[in-house]
């Protein structure tokens, strides 16, 4: 069987298997592919694009993209121009119980370059890192960067609690941040030698005399090839790859990874037919580790499956979890081809996807169950929640910690998935995204929005809350209760409520059971003409009820 026949056979087999394993009864029959989308470019489409590629769709961002084309908008989202954010700072008090407290670091300055392996200090730094990252999500620039970074951190599945050192965790985060929209092959090369990864998957223990297969296995199974039907690497391939990866260690005093040639396996490594029986020549000396790693990655990225595997993960993260045969053929394969043809430029398949007819297909809109970050960070951003200036680090970190904890509370602990596979919502058949929603998490989601509507969160006397009156003032006619509800719903929900539902909501909330629209109009006009506290509260009370109600509807969990 030549290579072409081999691939064709594999593809047929895969299609059959996919239709079998697709256990969810999907009503979806999407045949659209990656042809450039040429349909309407209205608020609806922009909000769809932004909710999927960022955390929530802010009206200001929607307005910004109205004057761009689809292609321009996607290009801007994939090519951030804002500088990367500064590193986390020491916002915690110097420990009084640590053996070697980091009293050399002043509060408000960064700890990321300070070598200090004290367990107490590092525990404080892990917590500090998580608050900081939450803050970076909240303060994201107008691009896909922060959301895609969350994808990559989840993709590589490290648990900070196991990595142990906050410094290493941050270094891994920063490494992925550098490659977030760069070259995937280079990203994998770098993460292979990342100190946190070497620690988390035991790469630093991988020696020629008794290779540790942990990282080699996950490199193939989770990071590059997957376990789909198109992925036919063998158990022996894992063993051989483990030999390739022998010799890498961690320098615990400089927090760097080093290659120790004396621990490296110098034998030739022979791979299976899936890798075209590739033999990686055993090498010696200081460059042996990198040279063999290059060979290993070249071999992996020469497969067809690698690009497809990542593109399926992109698809599940950004579009929907169900991938049927038509989607595999019409979307995944063209994305994978673009990925390979670009030399694994991460932007290439994403640009193809986000500009496609398929992405904007109505059947792909409003079907995405928000992850906790979408729900919490997204609502903060969409509702224009304001925070103190970044220079007030104490207040900000305290607030960020509340929102970080709110995400944990609803099932997503940033950089701490249950295991190396990442969050189950992105791989666990058949439920996938539905895993986010259960009888524990859903009431907590509602309680979070209730809190943000009614009391907000206060730190150092400063409060972050959903300020509803200025929020509805973004729209052209908030004095008209029908326009107000329609405009608000464009941003709050992706689907439309029926006329009857909107009318019931309007009457019972905005009109306080009165019969005519002018009751709200008069209250709003009175507030605009004379913004006293009493007039403010009259409209604000009703907006609070309205938005609390919206946020509690099932529709709010979808984007």
């Amino acid at each position: 069987m030549d290579r072409r026949d081999f691939l064709t056979a594999k593809r047929r087999k895969k299609e059959r298997i996919i239709s079998h394993t697709s256990t969810t009864e999907s009503p979806r029959r999407i045949t659209s592919g990656v042809n450039p989308y040429a349909g309407p470019w209205t608020e609806n489409e922009i909000i769809h694009l932004l909710k999927r590629t960022m955390f929530g769709a802010k009206k200001a961002d929607v307005d910004y993209f109205k004057t761009r084309t689809v292609s321009q908008a996607v290009d801007e989202l994939l090519n951030p121009t804002a500088p990367q954010p500064g590193p986390p700072v020491k916002e915690y008090a110097t420990s009084t119980t640590a053996t070697t407290p980091d009293s050399n670091i002043a509060q408000g300055t960064t700890w990321v370059n300070d070598i200090n392996s004290d367990g107490t200090v590092q525990s404080q730094r892990r917590a500090s890192y998580k608050k900081w990252w939450t803050g970076m999500l909240i303060n994201q620039d107008r691009s896909i960067r922060e959301k895609l970074l969350m994808f990559w951190v989840d993709h590589f599945g490290n648990e900070t609690i196991d990595v142990g050192l906050g410094n290493w965790v941050y270094m891994q985060h920063n490494l992925l941040r550098q490659y977030v929209l760069g070259n995937f092959r280079q990203m994998v090369d770098a993460i292979t030698k990342d100190v946190a990864m070497l620690r988390y998957l035991n790469g630093y223990l991988n020696v020629a005399s008794a290779p540790d297969e942990n990282y080699a296995r996950e490199l193939m199974e989770l990071f590059t090839l997957g376990k789909g039907s198109g992925s036919q690497y063998t158990e022996n391939d894992v063993k051989e790859a483990a030999k390739v990866l022998t010799g890498w260690q961690i320098n615990g005093t400089t927090y760097t990874s080093v290659f120790n040639a004396s621990r490296h396996s110098t034998v030739n490594k022979t791979f299976s037919a899936f890798f075209n029986n590739t033999v990686i020549t055993g090498r010696t000396g200081a460059t042996a580790g990198q040279l063999e790693l290059n060979d290993l990655l070249n071999m992996i990225f020469a497969t067809q499956e690698s690009a497809k595997f990542i593109c399926r993960k992109f698809y599940r993260f950004f579009v929907y979890y169900a991938i049927d045969a038509a989607t595999e053929t019409n979307v995944i394969e063209p994305m994978a081809t673009a990925f390979r043809n670009s030399g694994y430029d991460i932007k290439a398949p994403l640009a193809l996807l986000f500009k496609s007819e398929h992405f904007f297909d109505v059947l792909n809109q409003n079907c995405y169950i928000k992850n906790p970050a979408d729900h919490i960070i997204g609502s903060l951003r969409e509702m224009n929640a304001t925070f103190p200036p970044l220079t007030d680090w104490d207040t900000n970190y305290g607030m960020w910690n509340f929102f970080y904890a709110s995400m944990v509370n609803t099932g997503q602990n940033l950089h701490d998935p249950p295991n190396v596979s990442g969050m189950p919502a992105y791989y666990q058949e058949p439920s996938y995204h539905e895993i986010w929603i259960n009888s524990d998490s859903l009431p907590k989601r509602n309680q979070f929005t209730d809190t943000m509507v009614n009391t907000g969160f206060t730190r150092n006397g400063q409060r972050v809350i959903f300020n509803l009156v200025p929020w509805v003032q973004q729209f052209s006619n908030p004095g008209n209760p029908n326009d107000l509800i329609d405009d608000a719903l464009k941003y709050v929900f992706r689907n439309q409520l029926s006329y009857e539902s909107k009318k019931a909501i309007k009457t019972q909330i905005l009109l306080s059971n009165q019969l005519y629209d002018y009751y709200w109009t008069n209250a709003w006009t009175a507030y605009m003409a004379n913004p006293t506290t009493a007039n403010f509260n009259t409209v604000n009370n009703r907006l609070r009820q309205l938005f609390q109600y919206f946020f509690n509807l099932s529709e709010y969990q979808l984007s």
Binding site: L363, E434, N495, N513, Q514, A523, A534, N537, S554, E555
Partner: protein
Amino acid sequence: MKRKEFLQKAIPAGVMLPAMINGYSVKAFGADSPLVQALMRGYTDTDHVLVIVQLAGGNDGLNTVIPISTYSNYFNARTNVAIPQNRILPLGSSGAGLHPSMTGMNNLFSNGMLKVIQAVGYPQPNFSHFRATDIWMSASNSNQEVFSGWAGRYLNYEYPNFPTGYPNVNAPDPLAIQIGSTTTLTTQGPVVNMAMSITNPTSFYNLLNGTTDPVPNTPAGKELQFIRIVNQQTQKYSTVIRNAANAVTQQVTYPTNNSLADQLKIVARLIKGGLKTRVYMVSFGGFDTHSVQVNAADTTTGAHANLLQRVSDAIKAFQDDLQFLQVQDRVIGMTYSEFGRRIKSNSSTGTDHGAAAPMFLFGSKIENGVLGNNPTIPANATVNDNVPMQYDFRSVYSTILEKWFCLDKTVVDGLYPPNINAQLQSLPLFKSGLVCNAVTPPPPVSDKIIWNYPHPFSNSTEITFKTQGGHTLIQIIDTLGRVIATLLEKDYTSATTDKITFNSEGLPTGVYYARLQNGVIQKVWPMLKVR
């Protein structure tokens, strides 16, 4: 763990209890405080139920409870909407009567189950629908913003930490139920709303005409349906409500095309079905009758007559149903509207926003009768004239909490703005023989207990009043219904006759009212200031 143990363990000294935020008189208390001690006594043992009927829009009180005894002034003030005297349904010998369309409630009165409370309001009335509604629901002072409701604070006191740990053995059912899509400020607790609404689009059980939007056969529809199902499973009360509703198969016939009747029918069903829910809220709108509230040809018909008839028919059917279901002794109802309407009608056969107005209480345990006097109506009413307050609406609330829900008076006071407590009265609303003691009806106040001299007066006048001892309050109210001065507020150790001077320098000429409040007694006395 029993609740008492839980509280003892859970509340260290000095911790802020959730019930005590929002600036109320009880703020932060330790385990040794009387309030926390009171909290530890366990749930108040009562199966009593309150049904709150909101008449949204500002019901015209003067055409609902019509002053027969001052009929000519009433007629002169609002000739184009006045109800002919011979059509009024008299309320016994009270000198007041009901609108002719209110035969159902008149029947309740005849059967001893209706209380009319005259001229209920509050100092500094607000004429905005929304603001006035918020005041009635929150029981705040007029100039105060409170973001919780009076019933919400009550329920939060009885069931602290809700919803954490609920439902439980002692509180298996919703604490309060709003018939409608959303819960209102009335049941908003200090942190969460204590009520659940039962026609929520995501709710499990749409008892009436549902507004749940269908899900399309798309991926979005699939996921929405999934989340709705989880939502239903999460509704901890879905089963108990469904079971309660299903347990009742027979009810009396309710009037049709009457949304208030539809709502009350559900309430009766849930009560009989065994829910331990204490507060139900229903709402009925359309009372904002600025124009054409009557048919010019026959003022006993028209928009307002239709509204009152629906209210009266619905409440009568509800009370009949309670009797039929044999739960009548557990239930009382209360109507309120955010304000009454102006004494003088406008030329478009309507009435504009006003101040105090009557409230109705109904139920087999309600002491029948009319509390208070017919409002004083000037012989030549002007556009600014309003019905002066006789009873503060919070006196009604606090009497219900104290006498119907058997809360200690000190606890009730803790649920209200601190500066109002002393002015709240325990009112004679209930028949004797309740678990908690009913207030003895006040002696007839036909005896002159407040008057002034000289009368009329120009600059100052001396007000003479008789107190029976105890808390005594004299307020001056202007024709707009505003309390413009509190002349006197003090405790007398014994019954006495006393005097106080009302200095009106700088005030415009016209009618002023001196309101005496002494224990359960109140009396409003009109005074005329001249040049």
